[in-house]
Structure formats: structure tokens, C-alpha cells
Amino acid sequence: MGFKMTETGGIDPDTWNRWHVVGCHDELPDDGARATRLLGRAITVERRGSGAEVRLTGGGALPVKVAYGYVWSSLGTPGPLFELPEHAEADRRNLNGCSFFVRTSPPRAIENFLDMAHFPFVHTGILGEEAHPDVKDYDVAISTDGREVVASNCHFYQPKAAAASTGGVDVTYRYRVPHPWCAILYKDSPAKPGRSDVIALFVQPCGEEEIVANLALFILDDDTPLPALRRFQQQIFVQDKPILENQMPRRLPLYPRADSPVRADKASIAYRRWLRQLGTSFGVLS
């Protein structure tokens, strides 16, 4: 069966046939549907007990899945969603840290999430400080099956790495990008040495230049009250939002020499290469 771009309004097949996040399940209204957008189409999302219903506005039902606390849908014929096994670990607290509308493309938000070099300047005093701006070498690869980008051995000095931190630490990060618009961060848990807090960015692609960024927490922290956890995530995200909205062009350039990466940008270079391999055209400039 051939894939016709004309049937998808020009959206590339990889994007068309993926699951995309369309809302946090817990935060859907108790009665009635919420209107939102997916890949430029108006849709409605409605809670149905522990499930949900997603429809094109004035049209038919779309595929739906509830996973990791979020509702996922697709305009095409989706395969399996990526695995996030930590979600099922009994001693974790799973919650939506914050959701923000941002005027940028989905891949710009993912690149920002993968970027350690901005911590000292954008998240000064929290995730970094100007006295420790250097990004040490780290490893990055596209997995052999081509299904995700992985960056590991990332070390960075952080004055306040998490809501529960009491002082500065050298943290170790690992990133997975198992979906073009979803990235997962594994970072040393201040509460349980040897294990990782998991923080995920699930980007709802409302349009090519408008997104909702959802920060999902799967953390080993029984003590910090919910409002403090949320405030920490919000505080960080409000610092990123003006940067993202002033990054030009809004769509991520995939053509050569669009800008000037350095060694610290290895993760973003691999991510852009992976998007080219996937044939992604939504939200990018080729």
C-alpha cells in the first residue's frame, strides 16, 4: 500500500502514523470535551473513565491510547508507543509537572531539552551557574534499530538539581529520544543514590510552529509536596519559553550550515541526523 502525501495534507508518513500526546489524562475536564489541535487539525479530547475519546472536530473518532498518564492519538495508523518501564515502578511518584503552550516547532523544544550548555545562562543558580559553564564530552548514538537517539555519560555541575536538592552536585544525565517529539531524561536521584529520577518532555504538535510542552515526572521523592514539585518545573520552564519563542527560524533547520554547532551540541547534531533518517518534514526546514 503506497503512502500518498496528498491524503495527509503534506504531512510526512512518520509523523502521520505516530502516536502524539494530546493532553494529560488527570487534567481533562470532568464533564465535556476539551478542544485542542493536533498536526494543524482541530480535535476534541474527552475523558471516559480511565480511557478517553479523541475526535476530529466535526468528524470521526481517532485512535486513542492512555499511557504514562497522558492521552495519545494519531491521524494515521499508529504502531506501538515507545516503552517507559519506569512508569510502572511502584516506588515512583508519577505526575504532570507542568504544561505550557509555546510558539515554536516541536523539534526546537526537544533540542532545548537535550541541551546542557544553556543551564548556566538560562537556569542560573538552579541547573547551572556561570562559574561552571563547561560541557564535558559525552556519548551520543542513534540506536542500531534506528528507533531512538541516546546520549549518555553527561556530567554537569548543578547548584540545585531537583526540588529536593540541598546543595550543588555534579550530576550525571542520560537522555533517550524514542519519539521525534518526546525526550526522556534520567538523572541521579538526590533521595535514592544509585537510581535515577525520570523527567520526560512530551510535546503535543498542535501545529508546525505551536506546541504544548508537557513535563512529566516519574520521580523517587516521597517528601516534596506536590505544589513545590510543580513550582520547580514551572520555574525552569518559564525560563526556557522566551528563549524558544525567540529562536529563529521557528522550524528546526535540517540543512547543512544552518547554524554553528560545537562539541557540546553533539546530541542536537545526532537528533537532527535522526530526523533526516526518519524523513520528518513536520516542523523542520529541509
Binding site: F121, I243, N246, Q247, D259, S260, R263, A264
Partner: protein
Amino acid sequence: MSYHPVASSRDLAGRHVFQACLLGQDIALWRADDGTVNAWENRCPHRGVRLSLGVNLGDRLMCRYHGWRYDSGSGACSHIPAHPEGPIPATLCARRFPVIEAGGLVFVALGDDTAALPTLPETAIPLRALPVGRPAEAIAAALAGAGLAAAGPLHFAETQGGATVHLLIQPASGTTCVIHGLADMSAEALPLQRHMSRLMESRRRAWEARP
């Protein structure tokens, strides 16, 4: 490509970064402590963040996203904090535009072959800049139609309150422009500034109402 007005000299206060738009090109304007005026593409060469969000350090501009620093004058990148030991590629440079300050206004040209500046009065007082939601050509036609003397395609003059007032049109985008006024006078500017403000506001209402 000729010089166009993009700001008044007073817009470039010390340690400020001013954002302007010329023919759809977003520009970051900043004055170094030694007086040098820099007009750069408003986009960091690293990852594209607007430089107008950055910090004017007096002799360098620091980008807000990753702290890269660009020297006043040359635009050369002189510091990449993520790799303090370098090396910095020699070609790494903010994209610069020719810029001249004259008569209390700042002029920028987008190309290199810059034509002469408009002839401006010696002792001129800048009037409040007026953004208009109409293309520069439409405003030029309207001013010509109202009988103002044309000193250039986007430069007009008229007599108001006993002084010669120059109106220079900045073509900001394809659909918008900014009118910069210069009053040729040395003293007692306030009544004329008020008069021009009211006059230009009412002209703008008429222009924008008639697309």
C-alpha cells in the same frame, strides 16, 4: 541597497540592545561604551536566538541562550563558555550591516554598496517615531499626494510651526513602516513636538482606515 533610518540615536542607550526591522530583516542594534554603534542580524550564529535578548557588556554582546560573546565592531565570536579552552572557528561571526549615525537618527543598509545618506539638517531634533500599519510606498504616495516636497523616494519635508520638518520612512516589512521625524530647529521644541505628534496620529488614523 541604500541607507534607511531604523532608530533614533536616543533609542541606543548605554548597555541596551534595541530591536529594529528593515525590509523584513530583524536587526539587533547596540552601542558599545566607546560609542561604536553595531547593527547585526538579530540571530545568534550558534542556535538562532535573537541577539536582542542578549546582554550588552559594553564591548561585547552576550547571547542569552549559551552565553557566546561577540565583539563590538568586528562581530567576531570571542568566547564560547561550553568550551572555555577553545578553539573558536575564525569564521564565527555575527552578521553585520553597514550602519551610520547622522542627525540624531541611526541608518542601516542591508547590502554593502551603500548609496549616500539623505541630506539632513545640521541641528535637528528627533520627533517621536510613528509605526504605521501600511507599506512604506503607500505612505510615500500619501505624503506626496498631500503636497509634501520629496527629497528622496522615502524622504519628505514640510513646514510646520515655522520649522522645516523632515519625514523619513523606514520600510519595516512589506506591510508596515515607521516614520521618523526630524525638526530643523535648535530651541523651544516642545510645542512643535506636541503639534507633530497630534498631526501624525491623525494622519495615521486616516492612512490605516483606507487600505
